[in-house]
Amino acid sequence: MKKIIKILVETTTKLIFIAAGIIICAPVFLVITGSVMGSSDLQECLAPVFQDAKGFVSWKLIPKYPTIEHYIKLLFQTPQFFVLFWNSVKMTLFILAGQMLVGIPAAWAFAVYPVRGKNVLFTLYVVLMLLPFQVTMFSTYLILNKLSLLNTHWAVILPAIFNTFPIFVAYGGFKSIPDALLEAARIDGAGELYIFIKIGFVLGKSGILSAIVLGFLEYWNMIEQPLAFIENKALWPLSLYLPEIDWTRAGFAFSASVIMLIPAVFVFVMGQDYLEQGIVYSGLKL
């Protein structure tokens, strides 16, 4: 009897969690159905909100006449869309590659070498990581201006490369490597660079991948940085352009949203374990 009650309770809790989780993910379903709705259908659904600014949206989960008109318009008649998509891809990739080159060795240095004064530097990095964009915005503007990089992609890429967040994530992965292993490698005559590449990269892989997953989700969504440092809208990433689409072209906005979601969902699904790992790592040495 007790066992039955226990199973019942467990199943109910599970169902409640799943139901709440589906509500949390509901925006995705809305966007997907919206992207295959005809324009007139959409107007009808959205008008109460945007024209009268009152009343609720009436939404159909399965559109009456599904259509791919928005996707065709987006992919075949809007070359500008590809430019923006490419901007997003380019900036995200350069930032992640730069962070790997700069941040991963720094994480290794902090995790492996017992050097005096290390903690002071580490605390400085913690503070820098926690400062919101707005507090560093003006100083970043000044240096970008001095280097005449404003209004180029580098204005967004370069400062992001030196963001200290990935260091803390990768640090967690490196810290899990036993010290004795490194000492053994040293006794066998391995150089420090060799140890970093052969042992660090292999055993600290989960930390590095975690940093990449978290970084991708962050920079694929960049808003503040391009808004502040890039005036030319042709250089904007998709994340900043999307909200500019007027509601009367909602179908267009929805289909663009879906396209933008695809890489993020792909990374999310492929890297969910690393995402979880990364979240735990990022908290290890705060």
Partner: protein, 269 residues
Amino acid sequence: MKSKVSVKKRKIHRRKQRAFVCFLFPSLAGVIVFVLLPFIDVIRRSFMTVMSGLFVGIENYKKVIHNQAFALAVKNTIHFTGTAIPLLVVIGLVASMALSKLKDTRVIKSLYLFPMAMPTATVVIVWRMFFYKQDFDSLVASYLWKNIGYTLILWLAGIAAIPREFVEAAHVDGAGWFRCFIYVKLPCLKGSLYTIIILSFLNSFKIYREAYLVAGSYPGQDIYLLQHIFNNWYINLEFDKLAAATVIVGLFLFVFIILLNLFWNSDKK
């Protein structure tokens, strides 16, 4: 013989020091060039006029402190973080307590983590459809929605690390569920709490994305945040006030973070 060992030890130590410097150098150089040096420039500018660059003492600081919009923004930001973070922490703890008792939670976890992958732009489109009011509550709701996933993960990791023997010993001693929770589990979760507070604080500033994309540069009175005023002064080239505000807020956060860090580390020992 002994001296030979110590010489070798010193050699290895020097080699480690050299490696530390080499590995850290690119990052540190970038931080110095892109963050620290320009910040010194900001401090310098906070004592000067915008155009002519005349030294004006603490005039800019006075302007910022007496600025009504700044006061409103500070009030709203404190209100927001003071509401959203405790809500997130408590909801996350309650949910993860229940969740930790279940098996096979992978699907559930991914449902809650998914908002992290949703582009803000997409969220905003949907948001506009449902929260036509764009007020304080919808901002808090949006924050909770986006951040509940990693809060759950961190709490779950903390709960999983509570030594089983502690809980069992408490039960043997006759402690009920509630006492066990307060006196045994909660103290073990202190580390997780600290991490969650720091990370949700870091992410609380990013709510500006939603606020800005939904309501623009000048939203309603109750969601005009510090991020808005920084951005507006930046766009209007009011660099004197921007510099002073940067120094004030930066210094405040610096002290706040250091104190939190010290408090935490003293606790560990």
